[in-house]
Symmetry: C2
Subunit: 342 residues, 2 copies
């Protein structure tokens, strides 16, 4: 299977490590050939016979570049690479853009799907802004568009619903899906301020330099929209989510909730009213006997409600890059197995 990477940040690097060290993983029978790596910052590399991942990872780590030989860099843009290179599957890992409404990732993905090439992406932008059209494009061209890592760091959530709930309908969901705000709210319960919490999260490397994506609820809104679109047939964008961040939460409010044996959590929800699907991201008081109350730091949890089961909750306790990278690899294995690629 010939893979084109667009975006080569931490998730891609971890995927590279897993490919290199695949002998550590006894059930991982998967040997893709990476024929292209295209990035915004470092330019692109292409090699029909396969890029030596070990060398690229070394160059990135030691010298912050893809290759020692600048002449090796491709003249193509990422979009041109998606449109013209000879590959089987696009791995789209560029960063989320709310302002850009999922672009340029959505265009990369469209370009691949239009050529009948399947896509695995950890980017929540395209699935939260353009799911319906990308799904239709994939179906029309006999390709797959998969994104298990886009919402829950690779924990099987979309696949849980699509592969393990045959005949059942998802009626709603709720979840904690933003580690940064979860971390900040925990800090405030102990008497800290919002600003301190943001600073600590930034220092720990988990919050963006511009904290608005997390603190104003944009990241969880993108996730809620993605879940509503995929699990409940909605056709919404993050702008349609009834969104509240945590800026209005005071230290007193957080401490007061704890006194009453509750905790403040930023909760994503999706539900139906008649045929209409709604989604929200709101600060809610969660009681101590709710699983959501136990989610600390960067953990996440999603509760799925359906017509043929009582709620099931998937809890991911301590995810890191391994999980996100594996989620993309699971997508790639699905693409391989469904397409006869090797």
């Amino acid at each position: 299977m010939k893979i084109l990477f667009i975006g080569f940040g931490n998730v891609a690097k971890e995927m590279g490590r897993i490919f290199i060290e695949r002998d550590l993983y006894s059930a991982l029978d998967f040997k893709p050939v990476v024929v292209g790596i295209f990035t915004g910052r470092h330019g692109g590399l292409e090699k029909k016979e396969g890029i030596e991942l070990k060398e690229v990872l070394n160059e990135l780590r030691l010298n912050n570049r893809l290759t020692a030989d600048e002449k090796e860099l491709s003249s193509l843009t990422p979009l041109e690479a998606a449109k013209t290179l000879d590959y089987d599957v696009l791995v789209e890992l560029s960063a989320l853009s709310i302002e850009g409404r999922g672009e340029p990732a959505a265009s990369h993905i469209s370009a691949a799907l239009m050529r009948g090439k399947s896509v695995a992406s950890a980017n929540k932008g395209p699935v939260s802004f353009h799911y319906r059209e990308l799904k239709e494009l994939a179906e029309k061209n006999g390709a797959l568009y998969l994104f298990e890592s886009a919402v829950m760091d690779g924990a099987p959530l979309f696949n849980f619903c699509s592969r393990c709930m045959k005949g059942a309908s998802v009626k709603g969901f709720s979840g904690i899906l933003n580690g940064t705000t979860n971390f900040i709210l925990s800090h405030m319960e102990k008497g800290g301020s919002l600003e301190e919490g943001i600073k600590m999260a930034q220092e720990a490397g988990i919050a963006e330099a511009d904290p608005s994506m997390d603190v104003d609820g944009w990241d969880p809104s993108a996730k809620a929209a993605a879940l509503a679109n995929v699990l409940m047939g909605a056709d919404m964008t993050p702008f349609d989510v009834d969104r509240e961040g945590i800026r209005t939460v005071t230290t007193e409010m957080a401490k007061d909730a704890v006194k009453r044996n509750m905790r403040l959590k930023l909760i994503c929800r999706g539900w139906k009213e008649g045929d209409a699907v709604h989604a929200s991201v709101k600060v809610e008081e969660v009681s101590r006997d709710d699983v959501f109350c136990l989610i600390s730091h960067y953990g996440s949890a999603v509760r799925i409600e359906s017509d043929l089961m009582h709620p099931n909750t998937i809890v991911q306790e301590c995810p890191d890059l391994l999980d996100t990278a594996y989620g993309v690899i699971e997508d790639l294995i699905t693409i391989r197995d469904s397409s006869g690629l090797i």
Copy 2:
């Protein structure tokens, strides 16, 4: 799809209700024909053109019998029915037998598989005592042997591991999988005695008249063996599980744990030592920040450890017959979709 039921207790009745009321479930596109119902207590019915489920459910509810006309009852035993009737899929729902080492259910299942007929079963006996041979028999005869409801009341657990974790290996599991003991331990935390707890569970209809299956840990041991066999390639029986019940727990112990901000829970575990798989069922102290601590009454939870993900936990908060019945129906849909049956 022509279905033969062996065992027609509460789970089968709930399946019957769902089939009758299928229009309530928008994604449930499934119209099986029930050609046989065989029970230990009420005898058997067979009808090539399909049994009228509404009538059978009415007779059972009102008159505790399958049919008003005794002459309609079949002369076949359940095993003879499995061996000779014309059906596509066996739904095996007879009761668990530890003493009988999974019999007679295992023989019913074997009889179907030997004829190339797939099996959906909620019975944990065969999968905990005979998984390897039944799996081999199914493969040899081009049939499926599925049992999603055998361990976690239909919550997608086996399917989570088989369908959503491609390329990953399960390294271990832990879980709370017996509602009766969970209920009794909760009662003892509040100062009640073991005997009272057992009596209350019996009165609530959740414990057996002989409480040994729950209280001595046989039911969770069967579940631990099933998980070890299916998820980790073990070839064990419930007798191989390092088993402890809750009879040694005193009210003082339960109350003392709570004082120290812990709870006593009966925990199933499976793990590897080298190539060997081990399993245990033990009373353990669980801390307040562990998801297991929140499992009350008949809820259950299983934590899956693998080589390519940090632990994921599936929590089932308030299962009842709907969930178990749906788990079997999910198996039936899988069998239909994989075999071209309609």
